[in-house]
Amino acid sequence: MTAAATSLVEMPQPRSLPYRGKVGMASLIIAESAIFTIFVVAYLFYIGKSLTGPTPGEVLETPIFFTICLLSSSLTIHYASRSLERGRRSAFLSLWSLTIILGALFMCGTGREWHRLIYEHGLTISTNLFGTTYYSLVGLHAFHVTAGLIMLTVVLIFGLAGRVHKDHFRRVDVLALYWHFVDAVWVVVFTVVYIVGR
């Protein structure tokens, strides 16, 4: 049956369909973008509508340093992937670890900021509309950073155990794509919260 099918036509030119890991991750990113969009819309809609409590202008400090950390981690993970593709394992491991450190620094920054907002300014998720939308949006992003850091750490552990090889670069690239997404979301969140919203 299928042999007969081949006899009817010439074997088609070999073509390369996209790597399913990439397509799967791209689809996940599209879905996640939709979730973030809704939170961003809520944030933008409620700007200036709080009835009480601290306003963004009063309490927010622009986290420039930690933003630079996070965005540079996109560079480091990119080079880490490239190193793995070329088989340079030690470069891969160092750049990968650097990515994790930069991401963790960002999380520390977020933690510090939240501590300051809660304890010095009394802004919590239930204080007012600004509090609700701010903690939800930044928190959703932080959750995704944390999930990413966990996955990056798992890969690091495998890498340190010597089990990550050049052939795995496509899978590692899929994870890097997720990490780039998380950084891109931060660019949007940063703009909306620290620039537009103030």
Partner: protein, 557 residues
């Protein structure tokens, strides 16, 4: 896999302990088995949701009836809507996707088999969680309550202040969980279609069902997620003191409506687009002609996917948007009818000049065509905004959307059952029982849903547990309820057919319908690996080419 042929477990598999069979099914990652699991799961909830509908209809047979209390009634309509959409139609459609998509593109499985299994069990858990609310939720009036806020859970009705206890949380969490399952399946479908097609299967040669599932997958990614986001916001409001929808703190109830309907409207297109896929496979085979206008059908499907993202606020015409917003959503809603109409014309164009065999799958598809036409037209009527100011929130809308979902989607799905059951089980469903199923269901459907438009025109709002006598609604509601019982009998006939034919149905062979797509080239049921050698195709109808080597499609495409 220990056996070559995948069969539904039963008494017939000799020598294998039932526990081992059960274990195989629970741990399976095979797309065909997961497809069947999804379908059986959905059928179970069809019966449960149907019982809820019957309770509603018994209560509404007479004015001032006290068959159930208002509290129970409100739970019934909430659960009926939530169940039918999320735990009946979605699983059944995902089931068919799982089963058919890899077979139709010549692949051996979906792109991510373990994600596939995970998504199924996640969605299944969601359904169980929702029904656990009858036991575990403590609602407004004592322990053990299911959600009663309507399947939209409008703010602020869903807030802690108006829905104390946990009944609303069961709604939120079960849908959040099954939503993630749906996203997983959508990712799988997209990756499978884009990355796993067999040689020669260009995008332009895929069966239309595969195209339509690709569009549906894309829509699930961006339509289900707004609901997930809104539900997270609702949980934050209910448990962390958030104010997303807290009107006392300056929050907006209308914002919930926007978020819900940004999900809710594309969701119904998520449901109907696979039904379009079923029609696009069944009608050509039973008309003995290729689908009329394949490229236009693809374009129309994609167009529907995009335009349907812009119509959501037609569910909110009475909420008090300004006249410009109302006009915008009026025109987008009318516009989405255009590619939809084009598809109807193309299906008729497929039948035109054909030699139509009215086997049961074709009967159901013909029913779809009449009924979906009417449903689309009542949709256009409601798109005329001022008319919708009267019709919205009334039984006219309830009649309209049941016309789409039951008269359209369910009819097409029944057609799909009769068409692909032989492939899945190796047996034909009984034609005789199938005809009984069709005619009984047709009569019951029309008795209920044709008549149901009228109380809406006479001012009967929806979601009311009782109504005043003397408004002209009594007799009409009685007729509607009788039709519901006739439909219930038809469903019983269908379930009986499914069971009896499994044991006694005629053997189907590979290709009982003389069809043209790849799934009919392998055995019924297919082996675990689907195809012995990976098929190579040269046209949209590879089996037509094989059966008609003197006149293959590849010459014309």
């Amino acid at each position: 896999m220990s056996s070559n042929a995948i069969t539904i477990p039963g008494i017939r598999v000799e020598g294998k302990p039932w526990l081992e069979t059960l274990h195989e099914w629970v741990t399976t990652v095979d797309h065909k088995r997961l497809g069947i699991l999804y379908i059986i799961y959905g059928l179970g909830f069809l019966v449960v949701g149907g019982v809820e509908a019957l309770i509603i209809r018994i209560q509404l047979m007479h004015s001032h009836s006290d068959f159930v209390s208002p509290q129970v009634f409100n739970r019934m309509f909430t659960m009926h809507g939530t169940t039918m959409i999320f735990f009946m139609v979605m699983p059944v459609l995902f089931g068919f996707a799982n089963y058919l998509v890899p077979l139709m593109i010549g692949a051996r499985d979906m792109a991510f088999p373990r994600l596939n299994a995970f998504s199924f069990w996640l969605s299944a858990f969601g359904g169980v969680l929702l029904y656990f609310s009858f036991l575990g939720g403590s609602g407004l009036y004592g322990a053990g309550n299911a959600p009663d806020v309507g399947w939209w859970a409008y703010a602020p009705l869903g807030a802690r202040a108006f829905s104390p206890g946990h009944s609303t949380d069961y709604w939120t969490l079960s849908l959040l969980v099954s939503g993630f399952g749906s996203i997983g399946t959508a990712i799988n479908i997209i990756a499978t279609v884009l990355c796993m097609r067999s040689p020669g299967m260009k995008l332009g040669r895929m069966p239309l069902l595969v195209w339509l599932y690709l569009v549906m997958g894309g829509m699930v990614l961006i339509a289900i997620t707004p609901l997930s986001a809104a539900q997270i916001m609702l949980l934050i409001d209910r448990y962390l003191g958030g104010h997303f929808f807290d009107t006392q703190a300056g929050g907006s109830a209308v914002l919930w409506m926007h978020f819900f309907w940004i999900f809710g409207h594309p969701e119904v297109y998520v449901l109907v687009i696979p039904a379009f896929g079923f029609l696009s496979e069944i009608i050509p085979v039973f008309s003995r002609k290729p689908i009329f206008g394949y490229p236009v059908m693809v374009a129309a499907s994609v167009a529907i996917g995009f335009v349907s993202l812009s119509v959501w606020a037609h569910h909110m015409f009475t909420v008090g948007m300004n006249s410009y917003a109302n006009s915008f959503f009026a025109i987008t809603t009318m516009a989405v009818g255009i590619p939809t109409g084009i598809k109807i014309f193309n299906w008729i164009g497929t039948m035109w000049g054909g030699r139509i065999h009215f086997k049961v799958p074709m009967l159901f598809c013909t029913g779809f065509l009449f009924q979906f036409l009417i449903a689309g037209l009542t949709g256009i009527i409601q798109a005329s905004v001022p008319v919708d100011w009267q019709l919205s929130l009334s039984y006219f809308v309830v009649a309209h959307f049941h016309y789409v979902i039951v008269g359209g989607i369910l009819f097409a799905t029944f057609g799909a059952f009769y068409y692909w059951y032989p492939k899945m089980t190796g047996r034909m469903l009984s034609e005789r029982l199938g005809k009984w199923h069709f005619w009984l269901f047709l009569i019951g459907f029309h008795m209920t849903f044709d008549v149901m438009h009228i109380p809406g025109l006479l001012g009967m709002p929806r979601r009311i547990y009782t109504y005043e006598p003397g408004r002209g609604w009594d007799t009409l509601n009685l007729i509607v309820s009788i039709g519901a019982f006739i439909q219930a009998i038809a469903i019983l006939v269908f379930v009986w057919n499914l069971i009896v034919s499994y044991f006694k149905g005629a053997k189907a062979g590979n290709d009982p319908w003389d069809a043209w797509t790849l799934e009919w080239s392998t055995s019924s049921p297919p082996p675990a690996y689907n195809f012995a050698t990976v098929p190579v195709v040269a046209s949209r109808r590879p089996l037509w080419d094989l059966k008609h080597p003197e006149d293959p499609d590849s010459r014309y495409e």
